[in-house]
Amino acid sequence: MTAEDPWQLKIPIRLCLSSSEITSPVDVKPVYLLAPRYAYLPALAEQCLQLFQHVLLSLPGQAEPSPWFEHAGLPLNWTQPLGVLHDLLAPRLLQPAPGGSQQQQQQQQQQQQQQQACSLSAPAAPWCLTVHYRDMPALLSNSWQNAGTAKDYFFSSLKEAGYCCRGSEGCGAVMRLPGQAQDELWAAVNKGDGAAARRITAPLRLTATARQPAAVATVPVRLLIRTHSAQCSSQDLAAVWEQTYSSSRPVEPDWCTPLAWLHANLKAADSFLYIVVHLLM
């Protein structure tokens, strides 16, 4: 796998406008688009605002629309890249199909079915999302500021990754990035332009580096573990964040495991290696 591959990967998305937002009597057809895995939700919002603007309710003196997305009723947090959100939320738990035709062996078959491992479905394509422009839930932020807060969070993550890789020097390198370069990097990330993004971040040297000769280099990793339980419906996504463990920390890679290689080749735009784990309970 070459370094360009992750940047070229895209997620097919079927985007619907929430019915509460539509003011026209005619149904608004959903929009199909391909979004880069490393992009963030605000970029999607700006793109589709142009498509849906003509049917949005517009009142004089109204504040600018504050877009937010929802997947199967779950409001999406805009701090994670699209690819991470998709990998975390799209797979569904598949229950083993009930069977057993002979009554004599029915109990035995039921026991076998219980012992069969539940499996995860492949993510359905396209990924269905609904966009809203009003009434942002309290658990998300209500200060959208034209996606500025998502961009600030991205650079804060990049700085944290820099600290993992090179300590204070990595931090300082990110903070010294000129304003224009920051804007270009953010635009490149949301367009999926890997070449431009790497050109801007290459001088930052955000690769795991041992800060002292005897020390081990640490790799910035963001780990998300989602539990799937057969007892509760996997369609109930409202509780998914309570069932998901997320950790952002440096990890010392063992030389036997290719963690450093994974980071070098598959790290996200903010130089973190995102690992999504689905735990079947």
Partner: protein, 323 residues
Amino acid sequence: MMACATGQLTAAEFEQSVRLFVGWWQAAASSSSQQLCWSLQSVRMPVTGQVISYAQLERIVPAGSSEQQQLPSSAAADALQALQQQQQPELEAVNDEAAVSLTAALNPAATSAAADDEPAAQLPDRVAAVSPQPQQLQRQPLHVHQYSIVHHETYQVPVLYIRASELDGRLLSLSQLLQELPDLQQCREPSQADWTFITQVEHPLLRTPCFMLHPCQTAARMQLLLQQQELSSTQAGAAQGAATPCQEADFQQPTVGSWGGQPAFTAAAATAATAGVSGREGRHSAGGPAAKYDAPVLLLYMRAWFGMLAGLLGIEMLPFFDA
């Protein structure tokens, strides 16, 4: 222990440090005029079941005003309770554990349509009695600030998270927060953007949006500060060493010798604080959960760390001297 060698704290050291800090603050506040109080909270993480402790403090500030009113969290609970009883009577009553109930109440399912002026007009009399300017408060809308001290896994230092909201739970924007805490702007390097020192993030334990003060220079400052402790115990010139030469300062101080608005810390307090530190053996031993904890040093660390921030938040720092 990592604290003195690198200025950082392991997770285990932070757990003990924050417990000592909260215990010290509560004891010292009870004998002073300080009404704001830290409380120790804990959260159980999903999947791993790990219990993580952190400190939390709540206060009420007048909306948009930089004049800090030192109202305790009980006043916040009272005000919120009054608002709840009058607007959403089906919610649970706020109990004395203001941290937990206030957190739950500040996440309503639907945003309230109440105007900003309504909460002020519905304040209970108890809040007015606590406030030094009751009439001003009743006319002015109030905001709730919630501060958390949480251990950061990457930077291995304590980090301050700020959640600012209106009484009905609607979050404030960064510009509104900086209007109420203007001293935070001192953390910014000239010509640098806001994100270099404060960013809106998701609270690592509470999973709600909040603001984080960037900690990337905390370790260097704490290392320098704690090293100065050893030198300043006999030298009066500790004030000179308090200023850090670091360029990318998160907590940049306006003048040399003034550290978070507490110049008393530099010389005289350093002597007393260091005199209170006992058991220096093993301070530079290897870090790790099994290492011997030097409790006085851990407490000193947290007191010094918060001492840097107290002035920026407009909170009166409790004296470092032991009575």
